[in-house]
């Protein structure tokens, strides 16, 4: 029983070690930046995984490159630009505003403004209806006569 437990523990630890690369950083900020970058950079080979989550060889290369760049003192923007210059904007989960992506920013605004326009239009229409007398003067006079008890 003890042997089996030991065996299991050794298996688990080797599996865990295999997936972890150890990187040394000069400062806490660099480490935080590296972690942030690996979460927001997308692996070009795999569909919808960031390079932190992916085990693809390409993701390993990109982690290594991101590490080197961070270590050189590059900031977030410089690293993202470096990757985007090679793999295109696909590589970032926070794409910049370009003619192809402008709808992502303006689309919601377009719908909000459209909704407001409809709202304003309808309110105006109702207000105009409320102001307008329901009956023409002849009918109005007849109604008053009836209400006052006069007979036709």
């Amino acid at each position: 029983m003890r042997i089996i437990t030991l065996l299991l523990i050794s298996l688990m630890s080797s599996a865990g070690l295999a997936a972890i690369q150890v990187y040394e950083f000069d400062s806490q900020e660099q480490e935080v930046l590296y972690q942030q970058l690996t979460k927001e950079l997308r692996c070009p080979k795999c569909q919808n995984q960031n390079i932190a989550d992916s085990n693809a060889p390409l993701a390993q290369d990109l982690r290594q490159k991101a590490y080197e760049l961070v270590k050189e003192g590059k900031n977030r923007e410089q690293v993202v630009d470096y990757m985007a210059a090679r793999f295109g904007n696909f590589v970032t989960y926070d794409p910049p505003m370009t003619p192809a992506t402008i709808f992502l920013w303006l689309g919601p605004l377009f719908f909000v403004l459209g909704g407001l326009a409809v709202l304003v239009f309808r309110t105006r229409k109702n207000a105009a209806l409320a102001e307008k007398p329901v009956m023409d003067p002849a009918e109005q006079a007849r109604l008053e006569r009836i209400l006052n008890g006069d007979k036709d």
């Binding site: 070009p44 060889p57 390409l58 985007a84 295109g88 696909f90």
Partner: protein, 178 residues
């Protein structure tokens, strides 16, 4: 108050619907694994790499100048590279100038591969760490780049080069390269 039905008000939702149909229908047939290359219209990145056969010989980006050519990224671990190799041999026999980039591979295995299957490459670069591959934005071998005589990348094809791809896509662009 005019209660005449206004035609455009009825056509507007239909228009939006049709636009959505076209957009989504196109989406059905787009391949999300195909990426646009960020390097189209740009010169081949600078590099210094060993020759595959002779480690003492170094090559740099100047080998891409002088005539239109293909840059083929390949590796022995890549099954699709095996599939396209025969066709590359055929292209080379037809006089197409091809530079090979052996990507993240083992030198001995790569040389054995070319000895056994034939060598379609005029120059063979050996990119052990995949650093030129990274600069090119290679995300999966095989990839084939069309490069003009100025050393500027004009097109990238991801996946194998076969007769269909060559005749339909690559050859028309390659013929127009200056």
């Amino acid at each position: 108050m005019d209660n005449k039905p206004r035609l455009w008000l009825f056509l507007l939702p239909l228009g939006i619907f049709l636009a959505a149909v076209v957009f989504l229908f196109k989406g059905l047939y787009s391949d999300p694994s195909k990426l646009e290359s960020a390097l189209i219209g740009q010169p081949v990145p600078t590099f210094t790499l060993q020759d595959l056969y002779e480690p003492e010989t170094r090559h740099d980006a100047s080998i891409f100048k002088g005539k239109p050519m293909l840059l083929n990224v390949w590796a022995t671990w890549c099954p699709t590279c095996y599939a396209e190799h025969t066709y590359l041999n055929k292209l080379a026999a037809d006089g197409v100038y091809i530079v090979g980039l052996n990507y993240k591979d083992d030198r001995e295995k790569a040389i054995r591969w070319l000895t056994d299957l034939g060598n379609p490459y005029q120059v063979s670069l050996y990119d052990k760490d995949g650093m030129l591959g990274l600069d090119l934005g290679v995300y999966g071998a095989p990839e084939t780049y069309l490069i003009d005589s100025q050393g500027v990348i004009q097109y990238r094809h991801v996946g194998d080069v076969n007769d269909h791809v060559w005749q339909q896509t690559l050859l028309p662009i390659f013929k127009d390269l200056k």
